[in-house]
């Protein structure tokens, strides 16, 4: 085993893509997908290969740039967390209509049980919506292989391919065997110059091609080595697993051998032939899937008239949250081991803003300035600063989706809630806050926008922020009155001055933007450390 690499699922995908002839990776950070791009950035080989590997401003721009690279004939990968696919959805769905030229893999990392997310949506729905194949690895080797072979699958079927992973696959390490590196594609225009022109007349043709291609996708699934029908003597039950649910099933049996026949699905569309074979050989079916009951729903249909199909929909398996070996064991009526309960002395340890973080000062200033207006007026966004919702600050009243702070404040102001405040981070601002600010400017909405600028994408570990050094210019360009763009330094010693500035702008009946600027203390500490190291070398 020692010639294998010990890789996280995310890293295995990155390495598989590099070895599979990748020319460019496009991504916006988001747990648990971030390490895919970071691995490509930190691998020496990628500089020699001149692989594009810079962060994009958001998931939509990433998806579109990757499609552009595919148009030019080269192999491209896009990565984001599941909610990132919402942002990229317009491009993603339409990319299935244009088709591809160079192979295109879209990696979406789902987070069932919401370890660090607002929801546990299942990306597989999007692939079904777009009518494109899904690859869903059950182990790190498959994650590598799927990225490695996925480009060819995409080129063969002329569609983007969704590579769907979940938290445990993304963030778990195991041994991975590499394959021989493939050369990158050369620059080559699409053979049909109008393939990517989705005027209705062309789109209708493309769409029919996509529909006719469905049969070929199903055949690919039926032939795929990622899907496997494993025999079992006990035919009272047949089990279908998707992705890593397979591991949780076989964990419960000695030598990983289930007594029931098992269909392990890791490539979609669902392989019809194998499903029928399993269904016909068993009395009833159990579906174990990490995520929403998508396969289960398809098997049942609306009328649910066939043999019994059990899963999340009928409560056999919990309706929400991720699976684990014990949940699966209980579903199968097996005894499970139990440890001791968590002792009462153990207290929760919620995440909190770092000591010394500038967001802390921002909230202390803001809470003071808002005293006269009362609570319930601060719309916020997604990032470290969302922790301002918790004690001791209790400073914000919303966190919905990236960019929503400014637009929700505007809507509330439209309704008469004046002043309304938005608190947004720098990376979130350039991700999708800028366009909302334009709406507010066009109506001169009485809102106060605080862009808490720590010059990094903090929550996800400190990636380069597209906003760094540009926020004031962007606000001016969008049309904010320069007299109401106020740059401040969030430090204790400036508390009184910052409160005064906030009060002035809260009283202003138009759009004002306050930009507290102080580097994230985590990136600051890391920078100092590496500077010190360099000067010692």
């Amino acid at each position: 085993m020692s010639n294998k690499l010990l890789l996280m699922g995310d890293e295995a995908i990155a390495q598989g893509a590099i070895d599979g002839g990748l020319s460019g990776i496009y991504a916006y950070p988001g747990t648990p997908s971030t390490e895919i791009m970071e691995y490509v950035q930190n691998t020496k080989q990628t500089a020699e290969l001149n692989i594009h590997r810079k962060w994009s401003a958001n998931e939509k721009t990433a998806m579109e740039a990757a499609l552009g690279m595919s148009y030019a004939g080269k192999r491209a990968m896009v990565c984001f967390k599941h909610v990132g696919l919402n942002v990229a959805a317009d491009a993603f769905i339409n990319a299935s209509i244009t088709g591809v030229n160079g192979g295109l893999i879209v990696v979406s990392a789902d987070d069932p049980s919401m370890h660090s997310s607002q929801n546990e949506q299942d990306s597989r729905f999007y692939a079904k919506f777009a009518m494109v194949p899904i690859l869903e690895p059950s182990n790190q080797q498959e994650a590598y292989d799927m990225a490695y072979f996925g480009f060819e699958l995409s080129e063969r079927l002329n569609v983007p391919v969704l590579l769907r992973i979940t938290t445990r696959m993304a963030h778990s390490r195991a041994g991975v065997q590499r394959r021989e590196g493939k050369p990158q594609n050369s620059l080559r225009l699409p053979s049909d110059p109008r393939q990517f022109v989705l005027l209705p007349s062309i789109a209708r043709k493309n769409y029919r091609k996509l529909l006719m291609g469905q049969a070929a996708m199903e055949i690919e699934s039926e032939k795929s080595s990622f899907n496997e029908l494993i025999s079992g003597n006990n035919k009272s039950l047949g089990i279908i697993t998707t992705g890593i649910a397979y591991n949780y099933l076989v964990e419960n049996y000695p030598d990983q051998k289930s007594p029931y026949p098992v269909l392990k699905i890791c490539q979609y569309p669902i392989p019809r032939k194998q499903v029928e074979e399993l269904y016909n050989s068993c009395n009833k079916v159990l579906v174990l899937e990490e995520g929403y009951p998508i396969v289960e729903e398809q098997l049942k249909g609306y009328l649910n008239t066939g043999k019994p199909v059990h899963g999340r929909l009928d409560g056999t398996v919990p309706r929400d949250g991720e699976l684990n070996p014990n949940i699966v064991a209980k579903v199968l009526g097996m005894d499970v081991a139990e440890g001791q309960p968590i002792p009462d002395v153990v207290k929760n340890r919620p995440p909190s803003l770092c000591q010394g973080c500038g967001h802390r000062d921002v909230y202390e200033d803001l809470n003071e300035a808002m005293k006269v207006y009362g609570t319930g007026r601060v719309f916020s966004d997604i990032g470290c600063y969302t922790l301002g919702a918790l004690p001791p600050f209790n400073a914000i009243n919303s966190c919905v989706d990236m960019g929503a702070s400014i637009t929700m404040a505007k809507g509330a102001a439209d309704a008469g809630l004046v002043p309304a405040v938005a608190v947004i981070g720098d990376s979130t601002f350039t991700h999708s806050g800028m366009t909302g600010l334009l709406d507010a400017i066009n109506e001169n909405s009485p809102i106060t926008v605080i862009i808490s600028d720590n010059s990094t994408t903090g929550m996800t570990g400190g990636q380069q922020s597209s906003a760094t050094g540009k926020i004031v210019d962007i606000c001016r360009g969008i049309g904010v009155d320069p007299n109401h763009i106020r740059v401040v330094t969030p430090l204790k010693k400036n508390h009184e001055e910052n409160v005064r500035i906030l009060k002035e702008e809260l009283a202003y009946q138009g759009v004002s933007v306050i930009i507290p600027q102080r580097e994230c203390i985590q990136t600051f500490a890391r920078r100092k450390k590496s500077e010190k190291k360099e000067s010692n070398d």
Partner: protein, 193 residues
């Protein structure tokens, strides 16, 4: 052979270095390994955990089933107790006794240690002091690894090798200091098991 280990601590305490060192030792011993961790929100001073599984046979699940862990290694005493539902009846809790108090309602440390000591199989070690003795308080996680190494089915030399690999880039001084921390941790467990 199978070792299922839960690693516990608070964000930034270095449990992932422990996992990495054991991982290297396991790979060098031609064993199968799976190691999963939760990132993200947990980096902000919250609790962090990692599931580390080592076996001479292929491993199915990335997660250790509840009630089946052979050991909990915790660099913080309250965090070790958080994962008791995972520990098997014959499993060991190997924990540092120095609390990390970043919450206002941190419980009485004596109550926590009393609970630790009520467990049949436990090692409660002052890893911070021992690390200082070895040369750096930052090596307390390696002291913990040394204390835990007694209960791993991996030869001690392989773990030493893992430390050399892990810290090799930082120079011989750092390597020697960590090896000393490792040995002191091990000796503590030998005397106190």
């Amino acid at each position: 052979m199978k070792n299922d280990i839960i690693l516990a601590g608070v964000g930034g305490q270095g449990i992932l270095s422990i996992a990495a060192a054991i991982g290297l030792a396991a790979v060098n011993s031609n064993l199968y390994i799976k190691q999963s961790e939760v990132h993200g929100m947990s980096q902000r001073g919250g609790d962090v955990q990692s599931h580390l599984r080592i076996s001479d046979k292929p491993i199915a699940s990335d997660l250790i089933p509840e009630g089946k862990a052979d050991m909990i290694i915790s660099v913080e005493p309250m965090e070790g107790l958080r994962y008791l539902p995972f520990l098997s009846n014959s499993g060991w809790l190997v924990t540092n006794i120095t609390p990390y108090m970043n919450i206002p309602d941190y419980p009485d440390i004596n109550e926590i240690l009393a609970k630790v000591k009520s467990l049949k199989h436990h090692i409660a070690i002052d890893a911070d002091s021992i690390a200082k003795e070895a040369g750096s308080s930052r090596a307390s996680n390696i002291v913990m690894l040394g204390a835990a190494s007694l209960f791993l089915d991996i030869p001690f030399e392989r773990i030493e090798e893992g430390i050399r690999q892990l810290f090799g880039k930082k120079g011989d001084e750092v390597v020697q200091m960590n090896l000393k921390a490792l040995r002191l941790g091990r000796e503590f467990s030998e005397k106190n098991r």
